[in-house]
């Protein structure tokens, strides 16, 4: 277990070093997510009054789109240099590589969300600060579920010719329950009086999805990655 976590940590640290140096994925995803929110704000906010519950939907759409972009680019980097093969040659359990890549994606999406949440709050008059702790837990659980499936699919498709098309086609139908749970949980937290019991229900559902998806991904990563 110690060896597993050590390898995951090394891979995550490498991914973050590469990203800090190039900032390619961070800038692209933040710019894309921010543009997405801005366009929706022009469409859905009239005279300073947003459409009811729009903020929650826009937040999760932006996270899903930015996440797909980040997943594709992270693995495209490994494909261009074929370094994913070198990672697969490491003398450790291959799922440790998966966990390392997943942690890197989670941190990246966490940074994107740090920009997105205040932006959506500002443009859609959404009181995200009403239950900050539950909001963080909800975002963390939803992002983990989305990224756990996405990391597996992005790694699996790395050598597919039409990977850019296939990734969203495979990813969105499977992660729709996560996005819906995220949206409903966020709506509950954005009520005039935050509906925390309802938010806790959706968080519990997200944690269940996370457990299922992470377990399945850890179980299938090695056979899927051995060509």
């Amino acid at each position: 277990m110690k060896q597993f976590l050590r390898v995951a940590w090394i891979v995550m640290r490498k991914d973050l070093t590469v990203e800090v140096r190039s900032r390619e994925i961070l800038y692209t995803t933040v710019f894309f997510a921010a543009s997405c929110v801005l366009v929706f704000a022009f469409a859905l906010v009239r005279e300073g009054r947003p459409m009811e519950d729009a903020a929650a939907g826009i937040l999760w759409i932006a996270i899903a789109f930015a996440g797909t972009l980040a997943l594709g680019r992270t693995f495209e980097r490994e494909r261009q240099t074929e370094t994913l093969r070198a990672l697969m040659l490491a003398p450790s359990d291959r799922p440790a590589i998966y966990v390392g890549k997943l942690l890197g994606i989670l941190i990246l999406l966490g940074v994107v969300e740090l920009v997105l949440v205040p932006m959506v709050g500002l443009l859609f008059n959404a009181p995200f600060g009403a239950s900050p702790l539950w909001l963080v837990v909800l975002l963390a659980a939803g992002t983990l579920g989305f990224a756990s499936v996405g990391t597996l699919f992005a790694a699996m498709l790395v050598r597919a010719r039409s990977r850019d098309v296939l990734l969203p086609v495979l990813l969105y139908p499977i992660t729709i329950p996560i996005i819906i749970a995220g949206v409903r949980g966020t709506v509950a937290l954005l009520q005039a009086v935050p509906d925390e019991p309802m938010a806790r229900f959706w968080i519990a559902l997200l944690v269940f999805f996370d457990a299922v998806f992470v377990t399945l991904a850890l179980w299938t990563f090695e056979p899927l990655m051995t060509e």
């Binding site: 050590r6 390898v7 891979v11 490498k14 240099t81 370094t83 093969r85 040659l89 490491a90 051995t226």
Partner: protein, 237 residues
Amino acid sequence: MTFDFDRLVVDDVSRNFGRRRALTRVSLTCHAGEIVGLLGPNGAGKSTLLAILSTLLAASSGEIHYGSATARAIGPALRARLGLLGHDLYLYPELTARENLEFFARLYGCPNVPAVVGDALGRAGLRDRADDLVSGFSRGMRQRLALERALLHGPRLLLLDEPFTGLDDASGQALVARLRDLRQDGRIVLVATHDLDLAEGLFDRVAVLREGRLLLVDNSSASLRERYREAVAAARR
């Protein structure tokens, strides 16, 4: 768990990609302290065989024995004894030479990483460029760095796919000398190459592949080019 072996046995290995058969019933045995040359035209199946030996690719049929055990029986510990230098060099261009080697040394669990990496940089002749990004390196410099990356953890079986690509004469000769040292050290080295001039006199045995079939395994003293031509001509007849 540590694992070691002194023999590599490829037993009746085939590999299909869809309908295309990339390798057909290849059998070959290599021993510790031996350099075996894998020759053959483009598409002969050399890289496929190396990928199967490195555990990156599964054989469609047949078995590979590392010593007396198969890859499945040994598990991840086998990969600690394998080194692969692919046609793509498996280096991160956004990292420096030192960071690349440190990353892989840690990944392989090498003890005393700074010393191991320092030695590797010295052997690659890149000590003065250690903190430069790999994206600024020439193909030859990358090739030397990639070879050291493959050797960081002291693998028993070294698999090299076109290792002479991009090397100037001096670097090519240095690589030949390095491979001879590794043979002396008891490693099993398999080299797939088209560079018959640089490889002349290097191989203990030569295996010639064509269209996925093993045409010849020999240790004659004739020139490499002659042996290769004869094998390919015999296959055409």
